[in-house]
């Protein structure tokens, strides 16, 4: 009696499970897209589903809000060989990790060609591991120097000029802080990576196998330390993330900030009166031009996907020029396709451009030329399977920036990163 009941229950359960999984294999395959929340992504998914004409249906699954939680969910499921994920929206820094672990598929043939077509080289380099392509770039990002032209007449080109400007403002009794991402998190690594690139160095070698640092790193650390102990540094520098830097300028305590382009739209909403004095320039360097660190998102196809062919096609649709333009104008994420930066047509190309009803790249992105110039000169963060470890120990070692002691800090950093590369070290 009990046995037959149990068998019956098992059969019913199995039946439910089978029917739940089976529905996709019969007709149109359902492709599960996992990506971070972005306001107009559902609209793009819908457009692609219409264009697919029954070849596939993309189902959008939204990942948690914070980057760490997004990555955790993805890697945990990939490590378990989960077949329920097809297309993955990856932060540029995770692409190498997932590729080296063998969890995402290489792009080849016509798909590869299409993904590389007209793609800006710097974002593309984040998806290229050991000469092979593992993802299609969807959007990119670079920090710019934002400044109040009523306080700072001419944008500083180097850190020394920037510090001198802050000192002058302080003596004049005016807002003088410069917001940078100095808190102990990924933003500190971005800051260090940029300053290090401006000093002509890098954290790792090109193959991502060895620590580089050395003399350029000492110069970079000297620059960061000098900044952190100057009139330019906000007292809460060691707790400043993007948003605190933005609020410091909007709130009137900071005269400048090094931040992502979203601060422009935010200023337009929060403090419209300040917008006419809110200007942008390329980020400062040490002796010459600065070099920005690339951010953004890539689309990859999971190794455990049951429908890889359709998944590649769907990913290409999601990041097509038309959809990147849509996302750029609607959500403010910079595209990775170069020609879009010269595109002057409206969102609806058949109608005349109007900033309100039919915006174009030019109306939504007044700073697009500066962004493009920075992207062309930008650097990626280390491309290594253990990026998570490298980043964690880097931000832990460099925090707080005011207590950096260039030469010893470089040595500590070298030892910590060398351990992290071997995944030997302990994460905080």
């Amino acid at each position: 009696m009990h046995t037959s009941l149990a068998v019956g229950a098992t059969a019913i359960m199995a039946g439910t499970l089978l029917s739940a999984c089976g529905s996709s294999s019969s007709g149109t395959p359902t492709l599960n897209l996992y990506a971070y929340p972005e306001q107009n992504r559902p609209a793009i998914v819908q457009r692609c589903n219409q264009q697919a004409h029954g070849q596939y249906t993309i189902k959008l699954n939204i990942l948690p809000r914070t980057a760490d939680q997004q990555r955790e969910q993805l890697v945990r499921r990939l490590a378990a060989g989960d077949h329920g994920m097809d297309i993955l929206g990856l932060d540029v820094t995770w692409t190498a990790e997932l590729a080296k672990a063998g969890w995402i598929r290489e792009w080849t043939g016509a798909n590869k060609q299409q993904a590389q077509n007209d793609a800006l080289p710097a974002p593309l380099s984040t998806a290229t591991i050991d000469g092979k392509l593992y993802a299609a770039t969807n959007n990119t990002n670079v920090q710019l120097l934002w400044y109040r032209s009523d306080l700072v007449p001419k944008a500083p080109k180097t850190y020394n000029e920037m510090i001198a400007e802050a000192t002058r403002l302080k003596q004049a009794g005016k807002p003088h802080y410069v917001g940078v991402t100095g808190a102990q998190y990924e933003g500190l690594v971005v800051w260090f990576n940029s300053v290090l690139a401006a000093a002509g160095g890098s954290i790792l070698n090109k193959a991502g196998t060895k620590v580089e640092l050395g003399a350029p790193a000492v110069t970079a650390l000297e620059t960061m330390h000098k900044f952190a102990t100057s009139a330019a540094a906000d007292p809460s520098l060691s707790n400043t993330m993007e948003d605190q830097a933005r609020l410091a300028v909007e709130g009137g305590t900071a005269a400048m900030e090094i931040n992502w382009p979203y601060v422009y739209a935010s200023m337009a909403t929060d403090k419209p009166d300040m917008l006419k004095h809110f200007k942008w320039a390329a980020i400062p360097g040490i002796t010459g031009a600065g070099r920005a660190t690339i951010g953004g998102e890539n689309y990859a196809v999971s190794r455990y996907s049951d429908h890889p062919d359709q998944a590649f096609k769907a990913a290409l649709c999601l990041r097509s020029p038309a959809n990147q333009k849509f996302a750029a104008i609607k959500d403010g994420v910079p595209p990775t396709i170069e020609s879009l930066y010269h595109d002057n047509t409206g969102l609806d190309a058949s109608k005349p451009v109007d900033a309100k009803t039919n915006p174009s790249m030019a109306t939504a992105y007044p700073m697009r030329d500066t962004i493009l110039a920075e992207i062309k000169n930008a650097v990626a963060r280390p491309v290594t399977a253990t990026y998570q470890n490298v980043s964690t120990v880097t931000s832990a070692t460099l925090s707080p920036p005011a207590s950096i002691n260039p030469t010893p800090t470089e040595q500590t950093l070298r030892a910590q990163i060398a351990d992290a590369l071997q995944s030997k070290g302990v994460l905080p």
Binding site: Q184, K424, P428
Partner: protein
């Protein structure tokens, strides 16, 4: 299974073991004194064993495997991102963890949280227990109200604390000088974590202590009062000594819980700015870093820490300790 679940399942395993020891120890001398155990007693004892067996077997099956597996993992280099480099490396993981400053920092943070939060909880919990014990009207209502914080899901409560202390969204952050973000400063963040822990678990402490208060006979109190003992003297000389076993149980439970503190920190800071506890650093290495070797090593070390604390409680506090021989005879 998260490290926390694993840790708690270990604790589960450990408790029946401890109680079992006590039972055997009591049974031993009895058997020696009375060599001829009656037929009825023997069959009763056999029945008791048989009734316990299924529970014991299930417990062993579901806890032994993960414990043994994580001990085995702790002797291996095993990073999920490099499945090909899996190898047995002896005690190297233990060397790496025990010489690492992040680990000892987390250890210190955990101990600070444990000592401070449990000490305050004990005082507040005792006060609350006395109030609840003495209340004449609306007893049930007051007890229910006092238990509300303990009934709220920790993660939900932690989120409400997090929003409350975040500038811009929080009513508590607004009370502070402008520009201060307490959750981004180490000392302040740890203080907030301790506050959240106290708010959450004081009712639990109070409940356990109230059970202890109930066993203090009223006649003793009256007799002491008759002899001229003041209220304070009656509390320290009569109530506390008689409650000692209940206090120790409450302290043991809370200390073991506090050593494994996880959910509040995960939501409030996730270990940023040097606020990692042992559970958080283990989680970061195991799940974030995908390093099964190092993560399991940390789990095992945490397990050992918990065992040592439990042993100190049981051995160090003598006969009044929970699980000791005397308890059953009191």
């Amino acid at each position: 299974m998260t490290s926390e679940e694993r840790a708690s399942s270990r604790e589960n395993l450990q408790q029946p073991g401890r109680l079992g020891e006590g039972t055997v120890a009591t049974a031993g001398p009895t058997a020696v004194q009375k060599p001829k155990v009656s037929e009825g007693r023997r069959s009763e004892r056999k029945l008791a064993w048989m009734l316990c067996a299924p529970a014991a077997v299930v417990m062993v099956v579901v806890t032994i495997y993960p414990i043994v597996y994580s001990i085995l993992l702790s002797f291996q280099r095993y990073d999920l991102r490099f499945p090909n480099q899996k190898a047995w490396i002896g005690l190297a993981n233990y060397g790496a963890v025990l010489t690492n400053s992040f680990w000892w920092h987390a250890f210190a943070v955990t101990m600070i949280i444990t000592v401070v939060s449990v000490a305050i909880e004990l005082v507040l919990g005792m006060a609350l227990a006395l109030v609840m014990h003495r209340t004449l009207i609306g007893r049930g209502t007051i007890r229910t109200l006092a238990l509300i914080p303990y009934g709220i899901v920790t993660v939900v409560a932690a989120f409400s604390w997090q929003y409350a202390w975040t500038p811009g969204t929080g009513y508590l952050a607004q009370l502070l000088p402008a520009g201060s973000a307490p959750l981004t400063q180490q000392a302040q963040a740890i203080a907030i974590i301790i506050l959240a822990e106290i708010w959450k678990t004081t009712p639990f402490m109070a409940l356990l202590l109230m059970a202890g208060l109930a066993i203090v006979p009223d006649e003793l109190q009256k007799a002491a009062a008759m002899d001229g003992a003041s209220t304070w003297q009656r509390f320290t000389r009569v109530t506390l000594p008689l409650m000692k076993p209940a206090i120790l149980v409450a302290l043991l439970f809370r200390v073991l819980d506090a050593v494994r503190v996880y959910d509040n920190i995960y939501i409030l800071t996730n270990g940023a700015n040097g606020t990692s506890s042992l559970s958080i650093i283990t989680y970061h290495n195991l799940i974030g870093g995908l390093n099964l070797g190092i993560g399991s090593t940390m789990s095992v070390l945490m397990f050992i820490t918990v065992v040592i604390i439990a042993a100190i409680f049981i051995k160090g506090f003598g006969t009044a300790a929970p699980g000791s021989d005397n308890q059953g005879r009191r």
